[in-house]
C-alpha cells in the first residue's frame, strides 16, 4: 500500500482544489445548493404525510421517527457529500479512464473520492440537521454521558455503513457494464428504509436489513438506546452499542470487495 501518512493532507488539498473550481460560478453553486436543500425537505414532508394519517408507526411516535430520520438523513447526506461522485465510477470503467488512476502512486478509491467532490451536496445535510433538532425539541431525552457518546458515534458509524454498502455495490461495475442502478437501489433504498423503525418491516426484510445490509445499526439501535425504549422485537440490549463495530467491519468488507474488483479489472482488461 505504501506510505499513507500524508493521505489526510492530500485529501484536503485535492478536495479544496475541487471546491475552488466550483466556487468560480457562485450563482449556479448557490442555486444547486438551494435545490438539494429543497429536496431533503420534500422527503421530510412525505414522513409528515404518513403521520397525519397514522399517529404511531409500530409503537414509535412521530418525534421518535423524526430521530430515526434525522440520524439516517444526516449520515446519508454526509456519505453523499464524501462519495456521491462514486456514481460516476461505472462510466470511468466503461470509458477506460479508470486506467489513469491505476498508473498513479495512490489508491484508486482515494483518487475517485477526491476526483469530483461536489460541495453543493452540503445542502442535503442541512435537512437532516433540522429534523434532528425538531426531534430533540419534542422528545424528553434524559441526557447523560452514555447517550451523548452513542449519538456522537452514531453519525460517523451510520456514515461508514452507508459508504460501505455504496462502495461494495458499485463494484458490480467491474463486472457488468451498467452498475449504477444496481448500486443506487441499495444505497438510496437503504437510506429510505433506515428512516423508519425496522420492526414495521416483514421478517425476511428485517433479517436482510440487519445482517446483509446493516441498516438496523444506522439509526434503529442507537435510537433505542437514546430513547431508553424497549425493543419491539425483543433483541438483546448489547446490540444498541454495536453500530461503530459493525461500521468498521462493513468498511473492511467493502475495501476487500473493491480490491477484488480491481484485480478482476486488471485481468479482464478495460
Amino acid at each position: 500500500m505504501g506510505d499513507v501518512r500524508d493521505l489526510p493532507e492530500l485529501y484536503v488539498r485535492l478536495v479544496a482544489a475541487r471546491i475552488r473550481a466550483q466556487l468560480q460560478y457562485r450563482a449556479s453553486f448557490a442555486m444547486e445548493t438551494f435545490g438539494t436543500l429543497l429536496v431533503s425537505f420534500i422527503d421530510f414532508v412525505a414522513i409528515l404525510v404518513i403521520f397525519a394519517n397514522v399517529p404511531q408507526l409500530g409503537s414509535w411516535s412521530m418525534p421518535e421517527v423524526a430521530l430515526l430520520y434525522g440520524i439516517s438523513g444526516l449520515a446519508f447526506a454526509i456519505t453523499d457529500l464524501i462519495l456521491g461522485h462514486l456514481d460516476d465510477f461505472p462510466r470511468l470503467v466503461r470509458d477506460g479512464n479508470f486506467d489513469l488512476l491505476l498508473v498513479r502512486p495512490r489508491g484508486t478509491l482515494f483518487q475517485i473520492l477526491t476526483g469530483d467532490f461536489q460541495l453543493r451536496r452540503l445542502g442535503k445535510a442541512t435537512g437532516g440537521l433540522i429534523v434532528l433538532a425538531y426531534a430533540f425539541s419534542q422528545l424528553n431525552v434524559a441526557w447523560d454521558p452514555g447517550r451523548v457518546i452513542v449519538l456522537v458515534l452514531a453519525i460517523p458509524a451510520a456514515t461508514a455503513i452507508f459508504a460501505s454498502v455504496w462502495i461494495a455495490t458499485i463494484c458490480v461495475a467491474f463486472w457488468a457494464v451498467e452498475g449504477r442502478e444496481a448500486s443506487n437501489a441499495f444505497s438510496y433504498g437503504g437510506q429510505f428504509l433506515a428512516q423508519f423503525p425496522i420492526n414495521i418491516y416483514d421478517t425476511w426484510l428485517r433479517r436482510f436489513l440487519a445482517y446483509l445490509f446493516p441498516v438496523a445499526f444506522v439509526a434503529y439501535f442507537p435510537a433505542l438506546y437514546i430513547l431508553a425504549k424497549p425493543d419491539p422485537l425483543g433483541l438483546p440490549d448489547w446490540l444498541r452499542f454495536m453500530s461503530p463495530l459493525v461500521a468498521a467491519l462493513a468498511l473492511v468488507v467493502a475495501g476487500r470487495v473493491w480490491a477484488i474488483g480491481v484485480r478482476h479489472y486488471q485481468s479482464a482488461g478495460g
Partner: protein, 319 residues
Amino acid sequence: MPIIEVEHVEKEFTVRRPLGRLRRERVRVRAVVDLTFAIERASIVGYIGPNGAGKSTTVKMLTGILVPTRGRISVAGLVPTRQRMRLAGKIGVMFGQRVQLWWDLPLVESFDLLRHVYRVPADRHRENLLRFRDLLELDPFLNTPVRQLSLGQRIRGELTAAMLHDPEIVFLDEPTIGLDVIAKQRVREFLLQANRDRGVTVLLTTHDLADIERLCSRVLILDRGRLIYDGDVPSLKSRFGKERVLVVDLEETAPPLRLAGARVVRVEGPRQWIAFDGDRTSAAELTGAVAAQAPLRDLTVEEPEIEDVVRRIYEEQPE
C-alpha cells in the same frame, strides 16, 4: 541490466460473441502472443503496428494496468501488477486521448497537485517546472484553465504532467496526434532533450512515422499480437525498404516506359513513377536508360517511407 524485460508474455481476453438472438458464446482471444523483448536504459523505442495489434495491451501490462495471462514482466526492477503503486512513482504515462490534468483548474495548479500526489520535494518541483516551462514554452498559458487550452497547449501540459516527477521511464501513447507541424517538432525536441540530459527511457506508440525516424533508436513492430520486427530504423529500411522510386517528368505524355530491372508503378500525364531495387540498379543507370527512350525534363528520387516499409512487412507475413 535492461530497464524493461518481457519474457514469453501472453494476454488472453474472454469475449462474448452473440450467437443468434439470445445465446452468446464465450471466445478466448489472444491479444498478445509469446512476446519477448528487453529495453535498455536511456533508449527511445518506437512501438508500432496497426490498430488492434496489441500495442496498448502491452503498454497496459508494462504499467501494471493489466495482468499478463502468462509470462514474466519486469519494469524498473519491479513486477508491474504486484508492485503497481510503487512502479507508478517511477514511470510517467501519457495517453494522447485522455486528460490527466484537472479540467477546470489553471494548468499550474494541476502541476502543484501532482507534486503532492507524487510526493516530489518542493525545491525539485520548482527546478523541474522551470525547465519544462522553458523547453515547452508553457508560460503564455500557465494560468489558463485546462478546458480553455488548445490541443497543442494541452498536450504540452500533459507531457509536463507525465514527467514532472522525474520518471525513469515514460510511456507515450500517440504523443503527437492531432498536433500541427511546429507543435510536433517542439514535442520531439523536448523528448530528445529529456532522453539526452536525464537518461529517461521512452517507449512510444505512434502512427506518425516521422516520430519514429526523428526519435527512435529502435523499433518494435507488432502485428496480430506477435512481434514481427525488432531492430534499428536504418536496418529496417535496408531490409524491407530497398525499393526506391525514381520520379521522372518527360517532355510529353508517353505510354509506361519499359525498363530492365525496374517497373513503372504510376503514370500521371507526362510524370511517371518508376520503382527499382537500390542494390541492383543505381539511380544514375536508370536515369540514363530513361533518357535513351524519351526526352527528360526533370527527375527526383523518393526514399522509402517507413509507412511503405511497414506495409511491406505486413504483406510478407503469411496469413
